[in-house]
Amino acid sequence: MAKSAPRLSFLGFSMALPPALLVVGFVGLPILIGFTFSLGFTTGPNRVVSLIGQQIHTKSHWWGTLDAYRDVIHDSRFAGDFALTLLVTLISTTLVILMSLGIGVYQRMIGGRIASIMSTLTLIPLFVPVVISSWAIHTFYAGDGFMRSFFATFGINVPTLTSTTSAIIIGTIWTSLPFAILMVTSGLQSIPDALIESAQDAGAGFFRIIRTVLIPLALTPIVIATTFTAIGILGSFTIPYFLGPNQPTMLGVEISNFFGSYNRPQQSIVMAFIVFMAASGIAVAYIWANVKSAKQSGRI
């Protein structure tokens, strides 16, 4: 693609500008300003929010102050919330990627009717608004929900999952599955038959082909799926809000609570940056995978 458009075009640059400006103005800038706010810069663009919010710390050094960060870290609930957020992200992402790989490999190697039923089924959550799915899962696993009613018919008493960490994990898997499966499956499908067949001819077994041919060749989409899933779960709000326990809860819910209900916007922004720091490690892997695959095919 880069080959077919060798000239640097001013027109192209100006066409690309509007969404870029929108992103700079309403994503880049707020993040930058939010960062200064978290450090205690309470004038300029942060003046109004500093007047409205409570327990605002104003900078005491030229570079700011870490008082708001101290507030958050010393908050008795923070450690539990942070641990829960990381735990849910780790468990859900691992399960989502394993399921995607299983379904993707099955579709690539065996295919047929079962595979197409499976792909249609797992695509459904993509089109269900997360508020609906969270609430549906809430009622399904609730004390008077289907799961308990169904097993009660056989005299089995299953625990209520709603308002537990397990429910958050169920909810995040439910919503993350389609995108991960789409990415992984399309990566696996693009591997040429010839490579798999020659591996078979050379005597490689089913699992050896998966390990040495399929996964390495589809590594980029797998990494993209993993990072996208993990970042999405890390910053989720609706699922833990509807499905999780009141305490501890995921940081997404606390960010919203601190911003709205508690009116402590500075502490809310601080938490956002703590989540961001966790996510940026994951984001680096994502961009690395993208750039690597673009280089391989000579697109950059």
């Binding site: 929108l22 039923i117 089924l121 009622t139 009613s149 993208n290």
Partner: protein, 279 residues
């Protein structure tokens, strides 16, 4: 491949087959179960634990939703905001998608990576940061504020998916049409645009759903002045019986169901996944 596929599937033992079907059944319950369970509640008077059958059937919850002014207002807001967001998104992003797919320009790589980097900041944290800025810009609780928040969520779909579609069009097809005497505009209209249409369609569908279903950001900057259907759900589930939430959910899911049936083929066909890799 297809032939080999079938022979391999046949050789699998009944045990493997049985476990496959069990897995599919489990997945069906896992994915469809909650949706069906909630949907059924829209038509029942009450459901007493531990009965597997409802106490009775009724349509009364539907009129309750339409006659409730707050709920009707939310439906109206959603139906106004989402089309505006999608149109704005098309105007802003489609030229950029064409440029990203077909042209080489200064800062192209930075632009592509930057778009994705922006997407990796946790959503709820970003919304809190935007809300901080909104206070200063006087956009808190305004129509425009909600539109901008929802617009941000559509950019990734409206630039990436069409860009991949534009990039995939063979140049020689356009050149052949030019050689045959077609004008630049005719070529763009009859070849470029037509071949990129499936990608654009998927982008429009995904953008509409992203806007229509957006809840976290619209809630943080819109409430308590402006409620859309998804943000109304947050208060709905606490203040109304579950049956009302069920009716509201069905209404909220309706556009999605309609739009999937239109674009299902292209989404499974890889337009979506194609668009999510930097090219």
């Amino acid at each position: 491949m297809a032939k080999q596929t079938r022979s391999r599937a046949k050789t699998s033992s009944p045990l493997v087959k049985a476990s496959l079907y069990t897995f599919i059944a489990a997945m069906a319950v896992f994915i469809l179960g909650p949706l069906i369970w909630l949907a059924l509640h829209a038509f029942v008077t009450n459901w007493t634990y531990p009965h597997l059958y409802p106490d009775g059937l009724t349509w009364s919850w539907w009129s309750k939703v339409f006659l409730d002014s707050a709920l009707a207002e939310a439906i109206k807001n959603s139906l106004i905001i989402s089309p505006i967001v999608v149109l704005l998104s098309m105007v802003i992003c489609l030229p950029a998608a064409y440029a990203a797919g077909r042209m080489n320009y200064f800062g192209r790589k930075t632009f592509l990576i930057g778009m994705f980097a922006a997407n990796s900041f946790p959503k709820i944290g970003l919304f809190a940061a935007i809300a901080t800025l909104y206070y200063t810009l006087n956009l808190m609780g305004t129509f425009l504020g909600v539109v901008i928040i929802q617009l941000l969520g559509t950019i990734i779909y409206m630039t990436w998916i069409p860009a991949a579609a534009f990039a995939a069009i063979p140049r020689n097809l356009e050149e052949a049409a030019r050689d045959a005497g077609a004008s630049k505009f005719t070529v763009f209209r009859t070849i470029t645009l037509r071949l990129a249409m499936p990608g654009i369609l998927v982008a429009v569908v995904m953008s509409f759903l992203a806007s229509f279903d957006e809840a976290q950001g619209s809630y943080l900057v819109g409430a308590p002045n402006i409620y859309t259907m998804p943000t109304e759900m947050y208060s709905l589930v606490q203040n109304y019986p579950i049956q009302v939430a069920a009716v509201f959910s069905l209404l909220l899911a309706f556009p999605s169901v309609l739009l999937i049936s239109v674009a299902r083929k292209h989404i499974i066909g890889g337009q979506l996944a194609e668009g999510f890799q930097i090219k």
